[in-house]
């Protein structure tokens, strides 16, 4: 068979070969750039340092948050206590914000009631203040065995690990000096 290929035919033919090679190239060079990983989710987010609210060790935590969400939390590498490490509970601290089980409004269960109902802050704070002062006044002991004691044994106060020194100082003032409590405890000692 004698092939009389014109210029036009030659161009068509070479174009076809190039196109075929291009298909092969696109479809079969799987080694190139296939290891794509997912986006870096804390890119452009500025971490906010905070203190773990759980135990008394007081580990430092970095909170990566957007406008309306907490995206990631991890140990603060610059914090002298934990140097970036965290326990399993401290690692869950993101859920304090993101969990659906989080309670966002004060709730009140009336005496004899079997259910909680949402109330506003004014009601809740008033109720707590009223109950404290009523209990304190009812059970206040001024003298015992002739000694001035000025105390109540009916109320106990429990502080949490998220409190700092200054807050603890104010709470001591309020509960020990102000109201006369003697049962003042801190989670750190339990």
């Amino acid at each position: 068979m004698e092939m009389n290929v014109t210029r036009r035919q030659f161009l068509k033919l070479s174009g076809a070969v190039a196109a075929t090679l291009a298909v092969v190239e696109l479809g079969f060079d799987e080694k190139k750039a296939r290891a794509e990983s997912s986006d870096f989710k804390i890119a452009k987010l500025k971490p906010t340092p905070t203190i773990c609210p759980y135990c008394a060790v007081g580990c430092g935590i970095l909170v990566y948050s957007t406008e309306d969400d907490v995206v990631y939390t991890e140990g603060d590498p610059d914090h002298p206590i934990n140097e970036g490490k965290l326990c399993s509970k401290g690692t869950t601290v993101r859920q304090v914000y993101t969990s659906e089980k989080r309670v966002t409004k004060p709730r009140y269960r009336a005496p004899g009631s079997d259910k909680w109902e949402e109330v506003d802050w004014d009601f809740a704070l008033d109720k707590v203040a009223k109950n404290i002062i009523e209990t304190r006044d009812r059970t206040f002991i001024q003298k015992e065995n002739g000694i001035t004691v000025n105390r109540t044994d009916s109320i106990a106060y429990l502080g949490g690990a998220a409190l700092d020194n200054e807050e603890c100082h104010l709470l001591q003032k309020l509960f020990r000096a102000g109201l006369g409590l003697t049962y003042i405890e801190h989670q750190a000692r339990i």
Binding site: T20, E36, C87, G90
Partner: protein
Amino acid sequence: MADYIKFVDVTKCDGCRACMVACKNWNDLPEEPQDFSGSYQSHEKVTANTWNVLTFNEHQRSDGNFEWLFRHQSCLHCVEAACEKACPEDAISHTKFGSVVIDADKCVGCGYCVQGCTFDVVELATYKDKYGKEYRKAQKCDLCTSRLEEGLKPACVTACHTDCLIYDEKDTVLAEAEKRLAVVKERFPNANIYNPQGIKGTTSVYLLADKPSVYGLPENPKVPLSQIVWKDYAQPLGKALFGVTTMAVVGAVISTAINKEKGGHEGGQDHE
């Protein structure tokens, strides 16, 4: 860039499980509530949504003493990875960090990698698209590759407070591993460094307190020959053949067109 590897010294682990939580936290994995199974271990094994699990192995030693062995169980990122060999879609590959990652866009959820995995760490997760139709994707630990790219350590390593988990240069880590092995040999005579050479080593190396089988690990894992043949020979050959076929078909179409054209212009002179 120097090679970096992850090191798991199970003799330093205190079972706090921060690595598990850190993993869920970074990778935004959903919770998987479990029933109490009579052990402190939370999950039976790693799943598609729980990429690392701390196993609590209650083990009786040969001298009759009780030993509570912990192990941070997650993908070992084998250098010769059976999952990669098994994947027909080339969705599984090695990154420059040595981590074995699954490309979710390419994964079709066939589950060959689940069957193929030497350490039983790959599983299929079920998702729903916007029409409510279910589809599946293989999921497993990716060694936090997105973190590695930014110069950070994997989330589990960042959280670990006992230096049980380390991520560092390979030589440094292996030297440290030998040092620690010498220290723990006295307490754990069977202690060993688990970096199986049958699969050309792993990017996550263990210091185990007892024989691998005690932890449910294969003593000398290998990628089955059939999988290597399938991936390294059969598949490329099939693709090459597909390429040849494509070329043949395209070529045939073109030549037919040319012949037709010739026929139109030159009036049947193409027959000798």
